[in-house]
Symmetry: C2
DNA sequence: GCTTGACCTTCCAGTTACTGGAGGGCCCAA
DNA sequence: TTGGGCCCTCCAGTAACTGGAAGGTCAAGC
């Protein structure tokens, strides 16, 4: 099956855009080999790594966090504590973002509810923003 | 009081960094006048507009949304319906982001909980990312 | 043998909203 | 006159792609 794939096939397997896979190579995240004609060639390892990165990105990890996680993923002798501490730090970031967004949602939904939203100029939203 | 202020004073009044205020001028958002020596001069109107933008940004509105809101803020004949529709669209964005982040938090906190986080290499977090 | 189309390649520019820094004026107080 | 604290402009960098131009490769069809 997935012995050696082109970038297009790797994209289909991972759900990542072709452009993104090229970008990941450019920044040294996942490095394919090259065939005689200069085309990128992805082995099963590289496809797995791309899948790994795609999932980590979907969980909101930054590229640098992905780089660190990928290094641990490759290192069969890693300590799971290292992985966990990266994940926990990211989890805190996510929770902080949720808190911020909840506050925005609260304020904004209140403003939206109190605005008539008709042809008249009076507007509690603008008034709220003006302070 | 706030008759005419320098950029530094405008920054203190609005809580915005000086650099950000310069940037807002550069993109045509809030345009101060200039004094004879080339320094920016902010009247009460500009200071109010900067405050308005600062609040809108704090609620997560993009610069382009701020530009639209500011145009409505300036237009005393606006229809509040226009403001409300911008705000409601943004509210939907915020809610969508919260939903995404909640899903990430859910998945990630589950992975974190199941990881021993010690010196051993076995790691449910990495396993989960690998799929 | 030649063309067509779907791949693939590189390189360059743009996106969002700033942020940092270099290099240099202006102005008031000691 | 020197110092410090403002102010100015311009340039480059950030994160993570994304779009587009210009061109090479390869198999299928006429």
């Amino acid at each position: 099956m997935s012995a050696l794939t082109s970038i297009g096939d790797a994209a289909k397997h991972t759900g990542l855009p072709v452009k993104t896979i090229r970008y990941y190579e450019e920044i040294g995240l996942v490095l394919p080999r090259r065939s005689a004609n200069g085309y990128r060639v992805f082995g099963p390892t590289e496809v797995h790594e791309l899948t790994f990165v795609a999932r980590a990105r979907a969980l909101g990890f930054s590229i640098e966090e992905c780089r660190a996680l990928l290094a641990l993923y490759r290192d069969k002798d890693r300590a799971s504590g290292e992985v966990k501490s990266i994940a926990r730090a990211h989890l805190r970031d996510i929770e902080a973002k949720i808190t911020d967004l909840e506050a925005m949602r609260q304020t904004l939904s209140h403003l939206v509810e109190t605005c008539a939203g008709d042809d008249r100029p009076d507007c509690p939203i603008l008034a709220g923003l003006a302070g």
